[in-house]
Symmetry: D2
Subunit: 437 residues, 4 copies
């Protein structure tokens, strides 16, 4: 009995492999069309990426980079809209001048696939390689644009500025709230890194600024008449530092003291701390955040200082992991020439406004390797890699994978349906069904 059962299991595995082979065959023809198209558009797009690299415009000020992309997309036949309307409390004036939305319809109704471009730099230039996000996204968009006349559906390119300033909400959060992602079925993006990875984990994050008000008094002549606001900060930190032991190990809870007294001979009247709380799971982050706020309340209660605190308007969620979409992208990457063994886990977790998109729509991000393992994002070495020929070659592979994935979605509506169902199921499990923030 046992032996036969064992044999049956092996046969089952064999069958599964054969099925995989069959499913993969259509990809052959698809890959040819897409990769040919990629080859055709690449030179133009690379030039755009290079110019963005040289512009090195920081978040909220990436006007020329945005204009360059808009013009290029218009030239490719996209209908481009700039000056997108967004909530005025997130972007002063209520208009995002450096965001844009470009759209191209196919030959029939079908899935809507959005590709996101980032193009903001840091103080030390494009050390996060957003020029390559823009460049690779543009390659995919341009390649697909050549195929859209023969495809159903709609291709959208979202220009999402101001990612680096994170939870400030100026970038993707503003566009989400402005309704500019409405109708998207699948969202795709890339990001350069020190490895190839389809690991989608991002840390949900919420920030907190705790301001404590005490009472000044001469620290030597009359300390008993003072209320020490710095003591409240100290107690809050001690509480937070102890709390960490009793939070899931993926939680990140970290802070700084931004105000710790004015003069050494005066009891600190005002003291302030900033914290960020993160976790791979939004609910876990929210729980930890609530406990941190209790620490600050304890800091006030224990010292007699008063706490001034308003939870921030914007928080970042973690994205929903959509297995079939990742699997489709993985096939695209393999087809683009990336070895399966090259795909690595991502363990140095960070946060991004991408998490908010990925919490609202089925989204996948392709980490592509432009620098040796261990090269940190935001380092000068990463900036050099983002401007190198090797960097571009990797970006091109990532672009190919994005284009192949989009192509698969356009041509297999049932797969889009599977992706959306998987998204809904996974999201419901993670949030208990709460609506996207």
């Amino acid at each position: 009995m046992k032996a036969r059962f064992g044999a049956a299991r092996l046969l089952g595995a064999l069958l599964a492999a054969l099925v995989g082979l069959v499913l993969a065959f259509p990809a052959v023809g698809r890959a040819d069309a897409v990769t040919d198209s990629v080859a055709a558009v690449e030179p133009t797009c690379r030039d755009v990426a290079d110019r963005i690299f040289a512009l090195r415009e920081q978040g909220g000020a990436e006007h020329q980079s945005s204009a360059l992309l808009r013009e290029t997309l218009a030239g490719l036949g996209f209908a481009v809209t700039g000056d997108l309307s967004v909530p005025a409390d997130l972007v002063p004036g209520g208009v995002s001048q450096t965001a844009f939305r470009a759209e191209m319809a196919g030959n029939a109704p079908g899935p809507t696939v959005a590709i996101m471009l980032e193009y903001d730099a840091l103080a030390n230039g494009h050390s996060c390689g957003h020029n390559l996000i823009a460049g690779s996204g543009l390659v995919a968009a341009a390649a697909l644009a050549r195929l859209m006349p023969g495809l159903p559906g709609r291709l959208v390119v979202m220009g999402t500025p101001d990612e680096e300033r994170g939870s400030a909400g100026g970038g993707k959060v503003a566009l989400l709230e402005g309704g500019h992602f409405d109708g998207a079925d699948v969202v795709l993006i890339t990001h350069p890194a020190d490895r190839w990875s389809l690991d989608q984990r991002l840390l949900a994050m919420k920030r907190a600024t705790f301001t404590f008000h005490g009472k000044a008094s001469h620290a030597a002549a009359a300390p008993e008449k003072g209320v020490n606001a710095l003591n409240a900060v100290q107690l809050t930190f001690h509480c937070a530092d102890m709390l960490r032991q009793h939070l899931p190990q993926d939680v990140r809870l970290h802070g700084i003291v931004t105000k710790g007294g004015d003069k050494v001979n005066v009891v600190p009247e005002l003291a302030q701390a900033e914290f960020a709380v993160r976790a791979l799971d939004t609910a876990t982050m929210d729980d930890a955040y609530a406990r941190l706020v209790d620490c600050a309340k304890a800091g006030a209660l224990g010292t007699g200082a008063s706490l001034e605190f308003v939870a921030p308007r914007v928080a970042l969620t973690s994205p929903v992991v959509v297995a079939p979409l990742i699997e489709a992208t993985r096939r695209g990457l393999l087809a683009a020439g990336v070895e399966a063994g090259q795909l690595k886990d991502w363990t140095e977790f960070v946060s991004s406004d991408l998490g908010r998109v990925g919490n609202a729509y089925p989204t996948v991000n392709v980490w592509f390797k432009i620098a040796p393992g261990g090269t940190a994002l935001h380092s000068d070495a990463m900036r050099e890699a983002a401007g190198s020929p090797e960097g571009w070659q990797a970006a091109r592979k990532a672009a190919t994978a994005v284009a192949l994935t989009a192509y698969e979605m356009f041509t297999h509506p049932q797969e889009v349906e599977a992706v959306k169902q998987a998204f809904t199921a996974a999201r419901g499990k993670a949030t208990g069904g709460a609506p996207a923030p």
Copy 2:
């Protein structure tokens, strides 16, 4: 003008000195009568003190010492009452078996003067010298007993057991609440020390036991499922340690951890700390106490542990400082042969249930020197001094001062009135008129 004014001031000082001399004259005759009487009773009383020293009975168990004193006082003609009724929550059974009250009336109505005797020992014997408190108080009582037939008023001797266990309330607090000090106009007591002092300062004190309840969990496998009660204790201590900077410098705030977890591999489910808060002023102590309780509440709030806390039934107040009574006793001490220059401040502040008596009635304590400066109360060296001939000689001088002071009260009712008015005024100032606890 200036010159004449200066001369006038000097003449004033001269007059004041002369008035002091005149007031002191009656003391001459008084001192003779009292000191003769002291000399007569001393041998018997010294024997009693020596036997109490040898008995070394601890608080609540000083049965033989109490019996010995009761018998001696009865033999001197006092009406003695034992088994005094007290609140049952302070002394189980509601009867203090080792306390007593002895009374002797004079030849006419007049002031009531109470002399307190203590006689409980510590684990290392009479290292706080209570045998000499009993002995010197007995000398004063016996000496006065010989004079009472010629004096108005009433002499009361209070046997006050169980002082060392402090705020537990078994001694003077129970007797106060039992009404056994009712009617006293002035209360007198002595205490051996490393110096002569009429410094009446005692620290008001209240204790607190904070018990925190968390939730156990395996400290390695599932720390995130635990609530760490020890963390609440840590936070409470940190808060209290910071608080100290912002309390008047005479406040004493000190604690220990009595429970800090069971097993290193289990998140502490139960943790406990004990604190005492003290200050020279009862209201200051109460304020500091309230802030300490806030620290414990902050410890609970910040960690998620729950706080179990009930303020103790008994707290100790600081005594009221009654200047004219101290002055009268100072005259007695000088008359007993103590040099004015020998009288020192008391700076190593402690607490005693004496503080409760001194908060309810005009009270004075005479610190008498039996050991070299720097000899600590409760030390073995102090115990040796409490059993030495030199110790007794000092106790005799203190007894003489007590007897002289009492004599002055019996013979000068107007001075009793001044003492009571000063007490009422000083007490009202300190407490805002709150009734004695």
Copy 3:
């Protein structure tokens, strides 16, 4: 090119599946022999497991359980040695009375496979299910004993007592240091749980007891003369609590206060804390441990207390993960009827002296499911499961997997060689080649 490449990859996957099938065929005959043998020995072994469950003897006192196992193994033809010689500083007297070693040679020289049995209980009985470790190990040993006449190699059964007291070193550490595992090529063991798992991760662990000596003084009268040992404990904890943020997230660092002062009115002269430091990697644990010791030194330096600390004699390492051995065991489990999908990760990491064995020899542990997911080890529910018929059925499957794995090792010496090479390589990588502790 791309398309052909993709097709080639798929064909490769197909080939790999076929190879797996071929490799699996011998298992069919093997499985028959072993499972028949298991069926034959099971009733006797179950009875032994039941009796150990009822005996519920705790660590170091499992005399009857040990005797029962020794007698049973002797009856099966094993050469049994008890009273094993071990280091006297780990087991007083230098003899482990409840450990044993049983051995049976095959028909020719060949691999040595050791199966470990545990049989100590906890205060609440066999809530860690060691009766089933003994029982399943016994089933495997007995089943193999019937086959050894036809097999090369040597079967060893190690009775390893006193696991629960962990780092005390009384169990496997003492046997390792006593040389009783010498010659083992592969070591196998099982453990009941709330899931099936071949996750081998265990936390390396070292304990620390920090004793601080200060100076007593009256906490109100002379706090400035005291040195507060409790303050040193507080500072050590605060330091450790902050340290946690800057350690790899798998590190576990947890402690309790075992002594925090004696009397509230005395500055604590003696205070003590116990900590444990753990990590999935021994080197990481050692690094964290060194930093914790720095915290204690800082506690002493900052407060003026003196630190008494000696690193413990025994620490637990993490085991080496030996991929081919795990793979072989996985095949055994599947053949025993466990579904691949049932195999889960282990995420609630704990420590065990098993980590020391697994750091010295290629070792695998089979977690077998006897209780619903979420049932904690050491809980009453787990104890009930360990005594239930369902618990035994799972133990029997685990036993079958162990027997199949051992059988494969005996019959495929080249696989043993591969296991040993993988062990050496993985161990060298983890430790930098340091010898086993």
Copy 4:
């Protein structure tokens, strides 16, 4: 015996009063001469004080105030020296442009008495009333200048700028180290306040700046690669906060956080705290300071951050209390019309570079009442009082006391000798004979 002894004591007190009267008689004539002289010079001096009040020049920039005083003193016949040479590390350039030294010799060799003037303001004007220090000192100096032709000795007026910046050393410390107090026998100064007081207690003080260097790392992606400099600050504060319990109660230990990290998402690489340590006794302050430095070292040791710390070049000592000089000044105050009962203790202790002068020379400071009790130094209310007619009247009384005290020194060289002996004795007792810093 006792009675006669008591009478003898009283007669002794009577005699002491008479002796005091006799000693006071010479003061009568002296007072007349001095007060007449004060009346003559007052209007001019008041004008100077008013102009300084209006100039409100801050420390190091009090050029016009200084020039005004120098001119006035030169006009009175003093030999005035400006641009005093001082250590270049205390005052850049090595020349104190706003300090000065004015000197006038008497008719024969004799004691040297120095009167110090302060004239620096705060940001909110003369809220510390230094205009009145200058004004009252000038009154005393001018009044004495009229009498010097008939007196032996030497009168010195020291212009001591830049007091408010405290331990920076720009004022009296620089002048001391520059040798400008050389030869002084007695130093006198005044200070406005909310009370009359001859309490000379000032807190010795030393400052500390602790800079901790850690290692930056992304606080979410790689916290384990960072070394948290803020943690070192937290630990230092916690240590200091606990330390306070075990320091004499007059010690003041207080600090602020001047740098607590840059960005919330980066592990703080740099953190900094400033502390001040004070005590009524220099040696006690030094001890406490050493323990605070140990706290900072513990902060570094426990966290792995490195500590950058250099003890400051300048510390402030507490002054020596010279009883006979205080007594002489007290007589002067009484003669100037201040009632003995008006003289209060000073309990809200502060520090001043006056403490350094008072540690090097017999010095007395006269606190004079210009504002209602409870008005804090440096408050706007105090500034108003410093510019009011009532403020000036009090300053005039203080000036009279200073002039009388100086007059007494000039005319009673043996009293100067007694003052110097008392100074030497008291200083030796306090410092163990250490030379002045």
